[in-house]
């Protein structure tokens, strides 16, 4: 109620009464925040939990780890427990070993004192701790850096190729009139309708014939020419002043120079939008790499992640950490370019 009044005052400076739909709207949005961000937050928090903490049920919100202490005279660190002694006092004791239902405990401050405690009389002392080994161990145990490199390589090279050849085609379609222009435009529209999923098998054949199967180029090349990219850039180039190009021609600039030195710099905003999209498409691509990459050393992150989720069902701690690494770049791009991305999609309607 208080919240409603507060929001009402803020919103209606002129004192318009708060409508129930306003309250409902904020409630809906609050629920939305929990539902849309919550799962991602839960994933990130979980990825910092130790393997044993992940098995806990019900799970704790924050990643906790049991505190371990070094006790003089003991070879290893010992886990610390909050123990209720028979006389009712509560002390923090380190566990030396456990035999059946009885734990042998020792006071870390005074190692000469030994206690025998029933295991249900003790509770682990825990504090928030990030299990960063979830992140560092996969680096050594799996070719994790390899997959990361593959993904970055595919994304960067594919995006560069896409930007170059799409902008060249867009330039041709925007600036020139030539026989076959209609047909070329139609061909681009035509390819808009054909998703990779329905030509999976023959593209595989083409790629194999070129001897590219199981190479990163097999992932990079087939999707490099995107109809959406050509369109986006063409629409933008159409808005450039024609006089500029005429003037350049007067000055004896070659057609390539006009494209590269004049049109490309002016098209930067549209190129940036396409670059973001291309990076997103490539980083997230799944079905095609899954079909064409069968050797582990050429796996991209997405494929590796999928393969691991089959093999590592019981090792969620690695799987969650790798998932976080996979989503991190996208999340970062989003944080910095959010406004740009949403308006870009809103105005072009592409994904």
């Amino acid at each position: 109620m208080r919240l409603g009044i507060l929001l009402g005052q803020r919103r209606n400076g002129r004192g318009r009464p708060l409508h129930w739909t306003d309250v409902a709207a904020y409630a809906y949005l609050a629920l939305g925040v929990v539902l849309m961000f919550g799962p991602v937050l839960w994933l990130v928090l979980s990825s910092f939990k130790t393997q044993s903490a992940l098995l806990e049920f019900p799970p704790s919100f924050l990643p906790f780890a049991q505190v371990e202490v070094t006790v003089p005279g003991q070879p290893q660190k010992l886990p610390l427990f909050r123990t209720t002694l028979p006389d009712g006092t509560v002390r923090e004791l380190a566990q030396v070993r456990r035999v059946g239902l009885i734990a042998q405990m020792v006071d870390p401050a005074d190692p000469s004192k030994q206690f025998r405690v029933a295991i249900d009389k003790r509770e682990p002392v825990r504090r928030v701790a990030l299990a960063t080994e979830n992140y560092t161990e996969p680096l050594q145990r799996f070719a994790f850096l390899r997959f990361l490199f593959n993904s970055v390589f595919v994304t960067v090279v594919a995006t560069l190729i896409t930007l170059l050849i799409n902008s060249m085609a867009a330039y041709a379609l925007a600036i020139y009139t030539f026989p076959g222009k209609q047909a070329a435009t139609l061909a681009v529209i035509g390819t808009l309708m054909i998703p990779m999923t329905i030509i999976l098998v023959p593209v595989y054949l083409v790629v194999t014939e070129f001897g590219l199967a199981n190479s990163l180029w097999a992932v990079i090349l087939p999707g490099a020419a995107t109809p959406t990219g050509v369109f986006l850039l063409r629409q933008y180039m159409l808005t450039l002043p024609k006089d500029l190009i005429e003037a350049a021609r007067m000055d004896k600039a070659s057609e390539w120079q006009i494209y590269w030195r004049i049109v490309m710099p002016l098209t930067l905003p549209a190129l940036a939008v396409l670059a973001i999209f291309s990076i997103m498409w490539r980083w997230n691509e799944f079905l095609w790499p899954l079909a064409v990459l069968t050797k582990t050393e050429v796996y991209t992150l997405q494929i590796a992640l999928n393969a691991f989720q089959g093999e590592l069902q019981t090792q969620w701690h690695y799987l969650l950490a790798m998932t976080v690494v996979t989503l991190a770049p996208v999340a970062l791009v989003f944080v910095f370019l959010q406004r740009f991305i949403t308006t870009g999609i809103g105005s072009t309607g592409m994904k």
Partner: protein, 306 residues
């Protein structure tokens, strides 16, 4: 480049600029479409088209060899038809939920709300995540000892094995898909809402028109073209669904969430005996459906411009 221009003339440079893009289109789109048709009318196990015997419409006849099309178990290729049935079911629920939720969200985000940019970002964020990441996030939450089951048991309920129960598996497939993509459709609808002239609303406010009347008489009718775009786009994307559901459920339990695209992928690639012909035939069928949907999309887009 200058020598080339001297050789062919400035105007023909257009072809030079077009060439690289069209080489790629040619090799990886046009040529494959041709090969796909060849694959679908040839048999055998060879990958190279000239080594494959011509079988005419046999592949299609095999696909469509069904006692009753409504019951996949009476079909020779029962997995294909299960995929069709599942995809149809998935699309029906997904598109309905998608339109509903993105409409409500767009309407709410179009109100004079504080922090609108932030909320818009919240709903849009999942759109950027990869299907694998999306599926793994939810798999983690929905697993036996996961967050949702923890909530259910805290409230006194019994743990539910979401991916063992076919009904639940389909429900979560739809839910996760809506979760991941609704931000995109919300954005399209939001653009439509913001294009509605403000004076219409001002006039309504002058007349003290109740809000629901404004909604049903002004907002929804004027938003309709965008709604059609959203519906058709969601239909097209829904029919192509593969990755999220595949990673989330693996098509299971049994074949309860097996989609058509997964059938194509498994028939052509993942199975021991790769049946390219059958996979190609199935993709021709899917392609035909998508083609019809795309025509709808163009019709809808054209109507929007008028």
């Amino acid at each position: 480049m200058r020598w080339l221009q001297r050789l062919i003339g400035a105007r023909r440079m257009a072809y030079v600029f077009l060439l690289p893009n069209f080489v790629f289109f040619g090799l990886f789109v046009f040529l494959p479409i041709g090969i796909n048709v060849v694959f679908s009318v040839t048999g055998g196990t060879a990958l190279f088209p000239s080594e494959r015997p011509y079988v005419g419409s046999d592949q299609f006849a095999y696909l469509f060899d069904c006692g009753s099309f409504l019951d996949p178990s009476t079909c020779r290729e029962d997995h294909f038809w299960r995929g069709v049935a599942n995809t149809a079911k998935f699309v029906a629920f997904q598109v309905t939920a998608m339109v509903l939720f993105s409409l409500v969200t767009a309407l709410v985000l179009n109100m004079k709300i504080r922090g609108r940019g932030f909320f818009r970002a919240v709903y849009f964020f999942p759109v950027l995540l990869s299907p694998v990441v999306v599926a793994l996030i939810w798999k983690w939450i929905l697993q036996r000892d996961g967050l949702l089951n923890a909530a259910i048991t805290t409230l006194g309920g019994q743990k539910i094995l979401f991916f063992v129960d076919p009904g639940w598996a389909m429900f979560w497939a739809v839910f996760v898909s809506v979760w991941a993509h609704m931000g995109f459709y919300t954005l399209i609808l939001l653009a439509g809402l913001q294009a509605i002239p403000a004076d219409l609303y001002e006039a309504a406010e002058m007349d003290a028109t109740p809000r629901w009347r404004v909604l049903t008489r002004i907002t929804l009718p004027l938003l309709w073209p965008n709604m059609i775009v959203v519906i058709v786009l969601a239909l097209i994307k829904g029919a192509q669904t593969f990755d999220e559901v595949f990673v989330l459920t693996g098509g299971g339990p049994g074949t309860a969430t097996l989609m058509v695209v997964q059938y194509i992928y498994e028939t052509g690639f993942a199975s021991q005996v790769q049946n390219f012909g059958l996979a190609a035939a199935a993709s021709v069928v899917l392609g035909a459906v998508l083609f019809v949907l795309t025509l709808l999309q163009f019709a809808a887009a054209r109507r929007k411009e008028i």
